[in-house]
Subunit: 326 residues, 4 copies
Amino acid sequence: MPIPKPELYPPFNVVRLSHVDLGVKDLLASKAFYVDLLGLQITDETADRIYLRAMEERGHHSVILSKSPSAQVNCLGFKVFSEQDLDKAARYFSTVGLEFKWGAEPHMGRILRVQDPHGIPLVFYFRMDREKTIHQQFELYRGARPLRIDHFNCFSPDVQASADFYNFLGFRTTEYTEDEITKSLWAIWMHRKGNIHDMAFTNGVGPRLHHIAFWVANPIHIIDLLDIMSTTGYLDNIERGPGRHGISNAFFLYIRDPDKHRIEIYSSDYQTVDPDHEPLKWDLKDPQRQTLWGAPAPRSWFEEGSVFKDLPTREPVLRAQPIVAP
Amino acid sequence: MPIPKPELYPPFNVVRLSHVDLGVKDLLASKAFYVDLLGLQITDETADRIYLRAMEERGHHSVILSKSPSAQVNCLGFKVFSEQDLDKAARYFSTVGLEFKWGAEPHMGRILRVQDPHGIPLVFYFRMDREKTIHQQFELYRGARPLRIDHFNCFSPDVQASADFYNFLGFRTTEYTEDEITKSLWAIWMHRKGNIHDMAFTNGVGPRLHHIAFWVANPIHIIDLLDIMSTTGYLDNIERGPGRHGISNAFFLYIRDPDKHRIEIYSSDYQTVDPDHEPLKWDLKDPQRQTLWGAPAPRSWFEEGSVFKDLPTREPVLRAQPIVAP
Amino acid sequence: MPIPKPELYPPFNVVRLSHVDLGVKDLLASKAFYVDLLGLQITDETADRIYLRAMEERGHHSVILSKSPSAQVNCLGFKVFSEQDLDKAARYFSTVGLEFKWGAEPHMGRILRVQDPHGIPLVFYFRMDREKTIHQQFELYRGARPLRIDHFNCFSPDVQASADFYNFLGFRTTEYTEDEITKSLWAIWMHRKGNIHDMAFTNGVGPRLHHIAFWVANPIHIIDLLDIMSTTGYLDNIERGPGRHGISNAFFLYIRDPDKHRIEIYSSDYQTVDPDHEPLKWDLKDPQRQTLWGAPAPRSWFEEGSVFKDLPTREPVLRAQPIVAP
Amino acid sequence: MPIPKPELYPPFNVVRLSHVDLGVKDLLASKAFYVDLLGLQITDETADRIYLRAMEERGHHSVILSKSPSAQVNCLGFKVFSEQDLDKAARYFSTVGLEFKWGAEPHMGRILRVQDPHGIPLVFYFRMDREKTIHQQFELYRGARPLRIDHFNCFSPDVQASADFYNFLGFRTTEYTEDEITKSLWAIWMHRKGNIHDMAFTNGVGPRLHHIAFWVANPIHIIDLLDIMSTTGYLDNIERGPGRHGISNAFFLYIRDPDKHRIEIYSSDYQTVDPDHEPLKWDLKDPQRQTLWGAPAPRSWFEEGSVFKDLPTREPVLRAQPIVAP
């Protein structure tokens, strides 16, 4: 039984995933992709950074595009419940022997920087500038009509270790994949905010970011995005989909940004707020796990991901093979 | 400023609204409405009760239809985070002088019965039978394709008093309507589970239940339900909509069951988990408050509601007049 | 039995409705409405005229906006099958004693101008400039995402006379409304191109244009348009809907342009190409005739319409009263 | 230039494709597929035949399932404009030296049987029993919610010859694929009823039926069908899609029935009634020809098809290779 017992009273209260800082080589190309094509809104722009939010977000940003000599992920951000929770977090990381640093960033209050046991750079904070609502300025909607950031998904070289760590932080498991031969944990979906996941891990060369996802209200918007991408020079940026995931039940599309960072457009998962919500188990060889409708994912989807800044990767401990498109 | 300061550390932890027990005069007629027309699934059925759940719910029931000599609402149910939270709730109600009773019900663990300050019969519990998932048994979907119960909305004779009480229980305000002349609170939307509301109150003869709502994934399902209702003898059960609410931004439809209990079919509100989420204020005379697209609600929508069992109603303290269809 | 026997071998072959020339008082305001809001594409623009087409149309224009001192309709255009059909039309109109004139217009070949028996100014033509396809330039779609002009609907002071005339021209009846008391024809829907209608007539002060309609692929686009209109200053331009028509089965929305010309956004009628397609009859007092879901149309919808250039109107011969919203 | 000049005044008037008679080995299995899964309605049922129609069709049947020792296609049916057109057809076939036979079938008037130059068994008729409308009996809709039969698509061993024959019958070309090396016609889409096609031909071992298509109103219904198929034992019957065709611009899904007959669920092509409608040309090696979004079709899609009764197939004259999924 590889799923850790949920930690219902964690050492500090993480509310939700919040934002990602993406290192991109060409700010203009990335702006065209995230703003003109995908439909995110600019909240601030400097010589080397662009801050973006989705249509219903009131926090200042869910994506930071940072000019960078190479494609990389600078950090994954999480919002906590209060300033006190930041202090509790610091005490907890001290106790478990994880180094942390206090820092500051534009548009945000006090931030706590720490690396998870595999080195993934995390940022915890409580205060971020709050913006005026735009979710009813319907003339601004375009592209995929993204409403909010939904989750991160990372390759982990040791999914069991990743699951254990985030479980201690109060992330609760909703679905998971087991390699039925070794009974090992292949992939796991864990949440704080009450839907399928804020954070997921998949076995693979890592740690690397597999993708970030944006939530959209209607599969029709995903079809619209595909139509636009395929007729405006973004055909090769379409990687997988559209389809229905067995896991999460979401209607999905995976696309790649100009630096090959992977973006999921994601619609319609389910509510998981109950503390006694039972995780669903999937077998690694179940073809409907990945795509309920049966189409396997392409090889790139299993092999490619974004490195974290200055963080070497290593081979995964598990060697099982998922079903890959020929 | 009529909105109470949010109580971020409430005396006990309510997870979400959970279920309603509706007194109905004709079980067969109600079964036809909720099961055959609306698409809820039966989880248990006795001589005088039918238990129902929506498609993604794992709790045993979100609606109980109880044979009753008259149309009424027997109770509104809420799930708490743990058995300990029930004990904390009992202590809290003792402290504030609200009488409570411990009870038991089929398919549920220990339950705590209490009436809110206006007399609304509430049930708090932690344990309910958990059912097998059916959200991917797509051949079972029908009618409105309801995914989960979303919220209760009640008429209150004193919205300010209702808001203050539920605020103490940790319900956080997302949107509210102010009568701009008296600066009084006309209506309020409050949540625990991280979307617009678990519970809302509107000024009116009360306490009465205004409606319960079910969440659906796509406005198309609401159009489908309208097409079916209008051609299978349920035309007169359509009360208002379809439309977009200004408040909540949801795409909505209001229908009436055979006992005139009002059901909202509700799609696409937004995420509100941030503890510093700022409430949105609407003016009572803003025509887009009710319907973004401008169509006023019919008089019945403001005047009719379901009484609670054995609970007399009284006139509201506020006399302001919303915009009513001629 | 008020429906004329279909004329399967008409004197000349009308292919479809084609375009409308609308007299508008403020070209800029109309351009904002038809182009920026509704989503039509400009194919030509002069000091006093703007030519527009919808997304899948290859003919040069389906709407001409003509600067005009007052709001009016200059003509309704129809495409015939060949130049020979224009000559056949001329012979036919001579035979029945209708005066006609040959003319010329930019972007079109030879045109034949004639007024129908009530004076409606008609234009018949075969050749119009053909444009490059843009239906797969998805980045151009906006607003209601209109695909093509679908039909004209006119008030007629004598629907029976109108029906008889267009029936002789080969327009075939698909649905009609009878005043069940006098057994008179109240309204009729007639087609050439194989769906519900190219032309419809409703009893009323006339002749006037009731509306022109554009076909859209998905009800979701109509919801999108409503959201945009209600938040960009066009709230008062929304007149009726959204809803499902009993007649035609279409999902509809009626809006008014800056000159009060009425536009229907129309989705999903059915195929009617069979020569033995039987018309459907509706009773005037059937509330589902207008709106399957029961909501009556507002009074303006029955009383207001666009006058044709220099054409006086007269009271209708029928006095029956449809169901009007209070 | 491989596209024949359109025959605007053909020897007889074909209105539209009408129906297919499919030989199936297991009537019960086919009934489960077409009725319970796909959503067609039964209009008649005998010991060895089931007659089906889609939701808006008034003709008695668009599909006949005929008990048969092997999977085959018994005939493709077309409706003509009048009984006189049948006589004109007979004269035309005499003139060009094609043998024909008069026949009779249940629920139909006089029928004319003929084989096209490659041997495809065709049926022409004018009269078929007309049924009561059910398109507004919304409680009957299920599965893919099919509205009408849309087209046939056949493998032809000589597409140029097929195109020439049907062109003489008045079928007009809307889109076509050319092998850019030999400038030969690889595939062609031809219509009578005013949309992309009633009949299409693709180069391949033939003659064989590639697929029949049903028109649905909304891509959402295709997603619904996929969800149902993949969870009710029909996962292996999903062959290709969902996706957007470059050709025709339709949103599509291809599935296989229990006898491997291929069915397309098809949404949203465009209007083509103009006699001067210009065909669109696609290059065989354009990857967006098949799927605008880039995913190639599986090999089975190019190689497998349904044989016609008692009709041998032969190798195609063209040897060019389309893009096939690895």
